[in-house]
């Protein structure tokens, strides 16, 4: 009990000491919050420090030769700090900005939800006159300022709209999903590389603390700028793109609907990826006027639609090599197997036509002259399962996995597909015949066909297509290199030879359908295709690669609703190949006349 006695006397010491501490705190609170509250309240009001986010420079993009493709230029946004905004100024503000009152109020209201003390972007990329008005009325327009922001700028002749993509102001739902990095009014990649590499390109925001006085006039940098956080530039992308080939392909497809995809067969790097009609990405970088949006969205030619990766058309005769390879590999035929083409093929009571009477034809000649009868018969002989099996190996029916977002898997039919569609036993061999010439229930994209051309050029080395070669990280100075992903399509060596020879002869030997793809001094190999189209004129296809001996470029060209592939698609491929391999269009300089086809040759290229 003596112990408890000690506690009793000692506890008073604690009571007294703690009591003193709390009384001191209490007195201090009275002092701060009653006696000096006016003084501190005033200090707090004057302490109007604005926390202004500083937009980082978005990462640059360079093509394979180091040419700057996507750049930044300065622009100015008008901002309002919600807590300081006075409604009496609304009229004047809307007049200066030429905006609707509702729109201005809505933007201020949205900004309030995040931070009433941080400026909200009201209008982007204003012109000089607006800027000088804002400056002029700055005394009256409390809480209204302008802010620097880098804007996308495209210094080359090419648009690259579907490849590079565009950026736009972040939407409400994206804001909720993406969380802390973004604020209302921020820009975000909306399509193509801008969207796919957003995380690298965007950089890190900086923050600038600015002191303003009671009249909202900027006094200067808070704490001499020592508390500012510098923005970090976005990472650069080095692309596999050749911007000159891209620009040329875009110009060749002017006023047409179509696509061009060119791939480097040595690593799967995309050399050009064009979809036409396209749009000017500069119009969409930032705030897009509603009229421009409406025009883009209602245009029947669908300029926003990426034809290079999203179309799902039958490939026509460009698909014949697949069947030839399947038949040769499976041992169904050999190089010397011949048929006699009489210009048509009859199965039951159905007649399948050919463009010409080709006579006795082997596999090399069948590819060279695009003989349909040969492939009708070969399809029946080879059968659907083998055809589907090799189709899969060449990547049809699945997305290629290219590093830009939108891509179509396409359609590669199989037995299951027909069973599902028509019921087991309810479809006949007749359904297959047209598959042999790339028609019927079959859908591919130009990207898939270009990758297929690459595999033909490479004797089976199928690289995953990609656009970004290197990411140059700004903060860590690290370089991330994209390693080529390769898949070998394992076919016997002797299987490739006749097929590739057929492709060579189709362009270079009289009677071939691809003669207009020829390039002086370079051996081009390729195949034309003309896909029937129930909605209008045929779609023209061409796939090919060059040089034949040592391929450096594989290409696919699609021109919609024009007619024969040999007439409309092959010349575009030839010019793109020439530009890529020579770095310029040499045939103009050499003063060589454009390849003029003889009448008989023009007759031949109907495939």
């Amino acid at each position: 009990m003596t112990e408890n006695f000690t506690y009793h006397s000692r506890k008073n010491v604690f009571y007294v000491i703690l009591g003193i501490v709390f009384i001191v705190f209490f007195v201090r609170l009275i002092q701060l919050q009653f006696l000096y509250s006016e003084k501190y309240g005033k200090m707090s009001a004057e302490n109007a420090i604005r926390n202004v986010a500083v937009a980082p420079l978005r990462g640059y993009m360079y093509d394979r030769n180091g040419i700057l493709v996507v750049d930044n230029r300065p622009s100015y946004n008008v901002t309002v700090t919600p807590v300081e905004f006075e409604n009496k100024n609304l009229e004047l503000l809307t007049e200066i900005l030429k905006m609707e009152k509702e729109e201005v109020l809505e933007r201020i209201e949205k900004g309030k939800k995040y931070n009433r003390f941080a400026p909200v972007k009201i209008k982007r990329d204003v012109d000089f006159q607006t800027l000088s008005f804002v400056e002029e009325y700055s005394g009256q327009l409390k809480g209204i300022e302008y802010q620097f922001e880098p804007k996308r700028y495209y210094p080359t002749k090419a648009h690259g709209s579907h490849l590079v993509g565009y950026i736009k102001e972040i939407t409400e739902s994206q804001l909720q999903k993406l969380g802390n990095f973004y604020r209302q009014g921020d820009l975000i990649g909306a399509s193509g590389l801008e969207a796919g590499y957003e995380k690298y390109l965007r950089g890190k925001k900086g923050y600038e603390l600015i002191t303003v006085d009671a009249e909202s006039k900027i006094i200067g940098k808070f704490n001499d700028g020592k508390s500012d956080i510098q923005p970090v530039e976005g990472d650069d992308l080095e692309l596999t793109l050749d911007i000159k080939v891209q620009a040329l392909a875009e110009s060749l497809l002017t006023d047409k609907r179509g696509a061009v995809v060119a791939i480097d067969p040595n690593d799967g790097g995309i050399i050009a990826l064009v979809s036409k009609p396209d749009f000017n990405p500069e119009l969409l970088s930032g705030v897009t006027p509603i009229s421009v949006w409406q025009q883009l969205n209602t245009d029947p030619a669908k300029p926003l639609f990426n034809r290079a990766t999203l179309t799902n058309y039958p490939p026509g005769s460009t698909f014949k090599m697949l069947l030839a390879l399947a038949a040769l590999q499976e041992g169904v035929i050999d190089e010397n197997w011949r048929i006699n083409c009489r210009g048509s093929f009859t199965l039951g009571n159905k007649v399948f036509k050919d463009m010409h009477v080709h006579g006795s034809t082997n596999v090399v000649e069948a590819i060279q002259r695009s003989c349909n009868v040969f492939f009708y018969q070969l399809m029946l002989k080879t059968g659907l399962p083998a055809w589907t099996k090799y189709g899969k190996q060449f990547g049809f029916g699945t997305p290629t996995g290219i590093d830009i977002l939108e891509e179509n898997a396409g359609l590669l039919p199989s037995e299951e597909y027909y069973n599902r569609r028509y019921g087991k036993g309810k479809w006949t061999q007749g359904y297959l015949v047209s598959l042999g010439i790339g028609q019927g229930e079959l859908g591919v994209s130009p990207l898939q066909l270009a990758a297929y051309a690459m595999a033909l050029a490479n004797e089976g080395k199928y690289y995953k297509p990609h656009v970004v070669d290197k990411i140059v990280e700004k903060e860590s100075k690290k370089i991330i290199k994209a390693l080529p992903v390769m898949r070998q399509i394992n076919l016997k060596k002797e299987v490739w030879k006749p097929v590739r020879e057929g492709l060579y002869r189709a362009v270079n030997v009289a009677g071939g359908t691809g003669a207009s793809a020829r390039v002086p001094g370079i051996n081009v190999a390729g195949k034309t295709g003309t896909a029937q189209n129930p909605h209008g004129k045929d779609h023209a296809w061409f796939i090919g690669f060059a040089p034949y001996e040592n391929p450096k470029i594989a290409i696919c060209v699609l021109v919609e609703n024009v007619g024969y592939g040999g007439v409309f698609a092959a010349p575009i491929a030839g010019l793109c190949i020439e530009q890529f391999l020579y770095g310029e269009i040499l045939r103009n300089k050499l003063n060589q006349p454009k390849i003029i086809l003889t009448n008989s040759e023009t007759e031949q290229i109907r495939d």
């Binding site: 112990e3 408890n4 000690t6 506690y7 009793h8 000692r10 506890k11 010491v13 604690f14 009571y15 703690l18 501490v21 709390f22 001191v24 705190f25 209490f26 201090r28 609170l29 009275i30 701060l32 919050q33 009653f34 000096y36 509250s37 003084k39 501190y40 309240g41 200090m43 707090s44 009001a45 302490n47 109007a48 420090i49 926390n51 995040y114 931070n115 009433r116 003390f117 941080a118 969380g179 802390n180 704490n223 020592k226």
Partner: protein, 405 residues
């Protein structure tokens, strides 16, 4: 049941603690409103959930079990402190964290709990006599071993808390006043000497009056007094020999407002935050000081500014009352407890909480030096919230067992 409940559960302490946690959560939400509030708030909410579970478990652990496990737990936690020096990750310059995915753990927070338990177990042994040098040095070592490890991290703020804890606990365990004077007066002399000659003389005067009141042995009094004077004078002498920039560092530590752009900046801004709150405050999420992030670390060490600005005097005083209630009520429980262990554990927790509150709120109000320690139950930080709630659990456990012998 009703009877058992009111007899065994100290509702006052429990409710006060939970209210403080809720105020803390609201303040963290407000303080981080602009920098991704949901992230900080959700994390703290999860930790508060763990904390509540831990509080309830600790509260009902059988009394004897606590005593039995106190040494093994202490040794284990000290091993963790050693491990963190080797394998820990560095956060804000201190290597004091273990990372588990996105959640980090700070062993130094849990050592507070095990240290209090070990010290209480040791001192509650009837054979221990603090006037024996051996026993005294064991008791002091129990605290100084973790302190030495924590200083290596380096986390001086947390180390200071331990030193603040040992003095009251030794006193409560029966250390003589003479011993207390030997420990306290030179320290007081050293600090006051830096402030100036008058505070130093006041300390000496208080010391003399204490000797007189306690009728202390004249020789011992003379020795303590001369040591105190010697320490004070030599501190002043050493200060005079220091380079100007070193002097300035000490000046700023003692008077932060001497450096308005450095550490004084926080203090000035936090005073503006508290003062501008006035009587009723600016309203939740309406505090401009808070919302504009004027005060760095406002959701950790400077959390008290947030309710003070947004809820004014009413909010500020409520927090003080809740803390005061927990502390005074716990001292009263400690003084009536029938066994030394319960009494010493309660006083250990009271000392740790008091040290945190004194240093933290004093700093935020601009009447104490800037030392980075958080405010119990309110500040953002998972490990600290968890250990604070475990300590509240200990207080409640001791209350249940206050009549055990």
């Amino acid at each position: 049941m009703q009877n058992w409940f009111s007899e065994n559960i100290n509702l006052g302490i429990l409710i006060s603690a939970l209210l403080l946690v809720l105020i803390g959560l609201a303040s963290i939400y407000s303080a981080t409103y602009d920098v991704g509030a949901s992230d900080f708030f959700n994390r703290q909410l999860i930790w508060a959930g763990f904390g509540l579970a831990a509080l309830l478990i600790v509260m009902f652990i059988p009394f004897r079990t606590l005593q039995l496990v106190s040494y093994p737990l202490y040794i284990f936690s000290v091993l963790l402190l050693i491990a963190v020096l080797f394998f820990g990750k560095t956060v804000a310059g201190s290597k004091s964290w273990f990372g588990f995915g996105s959640f980090g753990l700070q062993p130094s927070e849990f050592v507070k709990v095990t240290c209090v338990l070990a010290l209480a177990t040791y001192l509650s042994d009837k054979k221990i006599n603090l006037s024996r040098f051996k026993n005294l040095s064991v008791a002091v070592s129990i605290v100084l071993i973790p302190v030495a490890l924590i200083i290596r991290q380096p986390d001086v703020g947390t180390a200071i808390i331990y030193v603040f804890m040992i003095i009251p606990v030794l006193y409560w365990a029966g250390a003589s006043l003479t011993l207390m004077l030997i420990i306290i007066s030179p320290a007081a002399a050293a600090v006051t000497a830096l402030f100036g000659i008058t505070p130093f003389l006041i300390v000496l005067a208080i010391l003399l009056i204490t000797f007189f009141v306690l009728k202390e042995n004249k020789l011992i009094s003379a020795i303590i007094f001369s040591i105190t004077v010697l320490v004070g004078v030599s501190v002043k002498f050493i200060y005079g020999k220091l380079a100007p920039y070193q002097q300035k560092r000490i000046d700023v530590f003692l008077n932060p407002e001497a450096d308005p752009l450095g550490s004084g900046y926080n203090v000035i801004q936090s005073k503006v935050a508290i003062g501008s709150g006035g009587v009723f405050g600016k309203g939740f999420l309406e505090g401009s000081q808070t919302q504009l992030n004027f005060i760095p670390a406002q959701w950790t060490d400077f959390i008290y500014c947030v309710p003070a600005e947004e809820f004014g005097f009413v909010g500020s005083i409520l927090i003080l009352i809740l803390f005061a209630y927990i502390l005074f009520r716990s001292i009263s429980v400690a003084s009536t407890a029938k066994n030394r262990f319960a009494s010493l554990v309660s006083m250990g927790v009271v000392s740790i909480f008091s040290a945190h509150i004194l240093i933290n709120i004093g700093m935020v109000m601009g009447i104490m030096p800037v030392i980075g320690v958080p405010l119990p139950l309110l500040s953002y930080g998972g490990s600290f919230l968890l250990s604070s709630m475990v300590m509240v659990g200990l207080l409640l456990n001791m209350y249940i067992n206050r009549k055990e012998y």
